[in-house]
């Protein structure tokens, strides 16, 4: 119960931060102030908040759970690949989006696409696809809040109440504080994440009698030694995973966040320190997840290891229900919480529980991004702003936040989590597939709205096709993947235990490549935007354009 009190205190603090941000906001109630904090975030808040916005429940809970089952490969797959790709995309794309936002007053990527490619309804389609890929994220956030609060309180807070409390707090500070409140809360969350890693490592390491003995014990056992190498994962799978971080800059909550910096200089510390922040959070999470395989003194972890052993030994003779029960029992998403509960003093477990709660509550920026997109790309675009005025636009955004959070909570109460966990997996590949839109719009004069349309439709088709394929073909229990289609003697399309493989690669690779190809081919075949539009985005001379040449849209 004491850890839950720490979490309640944390929830009260973040709610207060949102209300404080509301009191600090300008009295004019402009959309730019509510949705983008008046493009005025300073260096520290911009760095920590951008990083925190991109860290979700998966960062601490999911990464350690993945490492518990798959070993050290988790770090190379998800952290070090991002350490290279994400800062590069912030450097080359984030800065340009920020500059265009300053020049033309854009608040969403769709506004930029509509102006750059002179398209209206294609922009609406892009909005719809982006929104559809983002919604599962928000629902997963509410679900994670409910189950984490319930776990931390030892079941004292039921799932429905935990989910309601988390949804209310997130809704409260997003509703009142808008982008300013969300950014401040994310900054606080990132500071908690960063403290979490070092503290958890020290406490659990001491409790386990040092990691040296644990590492040697794991290497001595045939069952756990492979977890300290990457032999269970193919190098091709590892290579194809580097396409996933391309999704980051294409996520609306990230690219909208790029517009909030006061000056472009603020990107400098962000791109430099981003890999180090990733290292500080992911290394302890992954390492603890791997070391949990040796924490047999923790009864719940010993039960997980036993379930895994039974699965490996009797997989082929188990009935589906028994197999599902054992798989659930062997899952490691809560191993860090279990290690903390066992080894950390109760007050520290509470403090670290608040850190975990901070990670779980990352759906705030997605809710705000969706609200920004709805009010700018739909409400304002279809005349609502002109008819009802700018103040109504902010009110609409706030009502949208209320409605969206309420719907997410109701869905989280009724639907099984596994559906949305899968949808989030598809969302990463989907946003990676939308990445060529940003690159083409920013860097290629010859790109057209028809190329953008083809890439977007391909993304929809590919995401749906992968979902249907994985639904129709059951995952193999263990061993080699089920090959569905062969080409030139090799497996072209396979169903793997974790998903789908296309020529041994993750589906994200063909999705991005074909999306890029469609953008190029369709753009070459269709009419370019007007010369005046191209001049505004691609000035002929290398001399900087004067401010007068860049009339703002708003």
């Amino acid at each position: 119960m004491i850890p839950a009190l720490f979490v309640f205190t944390y929830l009260a603090v973040v709610l207060y931060v949102g209300i404080f941000a509301f009191r600090r906001s300008s009295r004019s109630e402009s959309a730019e102030d509510y949705f983008l904090a008046n493009r005025s975030l300073g260096t520290v808040v911009f760095l920590f908040s951008l990083f925190g916005t991109n860290m979700t429940a998966f960062t601490i809970l999911g990464s350690s759970g993945h490492a518990f089952s798959n070993g050290i490969v988790t770090f190379g797959l998800m952290a070090s690949a991002s350490a290279l790709i994400i800062p590069l995309t912030l450097f080359f794309i984030g800065t340009r989006l920020w500059a265009l936002g300053k020049r033309f007053g854009f608040m969403t990527p769709v506004q930029f696409f509509r102006d750059r490619w002179e398209c209206g309804h294609i922009g609406t389609l892009i909005f719809a696809v982006q929104a559809a890929l983002l919604v599962p994220y928000i629902i997963i956030g509410v679900m994670g809040g409910g189950s984490t609060l319930s776990a931390i309180s030892g079941g004292w807070v039921p799932y429905w109440l935990g989910g309601a409390l988390v949804a209310l707090v997130v809704m409260g500070y997003v509703f009142f504080g808008g982008m300013r409140g969300t950014a401040w809360v994310n900054t606080l969350q990132t500071i908690l994440f960063l403290s979490f890693g070092a503290a958890a490592l020290a406490v659990i390491g001491a409790g386990m009698g040092g990691f040296r003995r644990a590492a040697e014990d794991m290497l001595a056992s045939a069952a756990t030694a492979p977890l300290l190498t990457r032999e269970r994962v193919s190098p091709w799978f590892f290579l194809s995973y580097t396409f996933i971080p391309l999704s980051t800059i294409a996520f609306p909550h990230i690219n909208i966040f790029c517009l909030t910096a006061r000056r472009m200089q603020q990107f400098k510390p962000t791109v430099i320190l981003y890999p180090i922040c990733l290292l500080a959070i992911w290394l302890p999470s992954v390492f603890l997840g791997v070391m949990a395989n040796n924490a047999t003194a923790v009864p719940s972890i010993a039960a997980k290891l036993e379930a895994r052993k039974t699965l490996a030994a009797q997989d082929s003779v188990l009935n589906p229900e028994e197999r599902a029960r054992l798989r659930q029992g062997a899952a490691g998403d809560d191993v860090v919480v279990l290690l903390l509960n066992h080894y950390a003093p109760i007050w520290l477990a509470g403090l670290l529980g608040a850190g975990i709660m901070a990670a779980v509550m990352a759906s705030d920026s997605q809710i705000l991004a969706l609200s920004t997109m709805f009010t700018e790309d739909v409400f304002a675009f279809y005349g609502g702003k002109e008819r009802f005025g700018p103040a109504a636009q902010v009110h609409t955004g706030r009502i949208f936040v209320l409605g969206l959070t309420a719907v997410a909570y109701l869905v989280a109460l009724r639907a099984p989590a596994s559906i949305f966990e899968l949808a989030v997996q598809y969302a990463f590949s989907g946003y990676s597939s939308l990445f060529p839109l940003l690159v083409a719009a920013l860097f290629w004069k010859g790109s057209t709205k028809w190329g953008a349309l083809a890439s977007t439709l391909w993304t929809v088709f590919a995401v749906v096709a992968v979902a249907v394929f994985q639904y129709a073909i059951p995952a193999p229990q263990s061993g080699p993947p089920t090959t569905v289609c062969t080409l030139f003697g090799g497996a072209a399309l396979s169903r793997t235990p974790g998903g789908t493989a296309v020529f041994g690669l993750m589906p994200v690779v063909p999705m991005v490549l074909i999306s890029s190809l469609l953008m190029v081919v369709l753009s070459c075949l269709t009419r370019k935007p007007a010369r005046q539009t191209l001049i505004r985005y691609f000035p002929q001379s290398k001399a900087p354009m004067s401010a007068a040449e860049h009339p703002r849209l708003t």
């Binding site: 770090f75 350490a83 500059a99 590492a215 472009m264 791109v271």
Partner: protein, 77 residues
């Protein structure tokens, strides 16, 4: 300089695919950190160093100038 930095970034991408450490856990760095994990931790530091070079040598100054001009206009009003 752009050519050198492009080469460095491409080289970093290949360095991420460290197939030469794929099947080995030893040596354990500091006695407990498998070499494959240590390698990728160092890789993160390398990425940070590459970003320092990019910021120093190919920062898109031209984008900053227009935005600063607009900002000065706004502040002047």
């Amino acid at each position: 300089m752009r050519f050198i930095l492009t080469t460095i970034v491409i080289a970093a991408y290949f360095l991420h695919q460290d197939f030469w450490l794929w099947r080995t856990a030893r040596p354990l760095i500091f006695g407990f950190l498998p070499i494959g994990l240590f390698y990728h931790a160092v890789f993160c530091l390398l990425c940070s160093a590459i970003m320092i070079l990019l910021v120093k040598f190919v920062w898109p100054v031209h984008l900053d100038e227009v935005a600063s001009a607009l900002q000065s206009e706004d502040e002047g009003r």
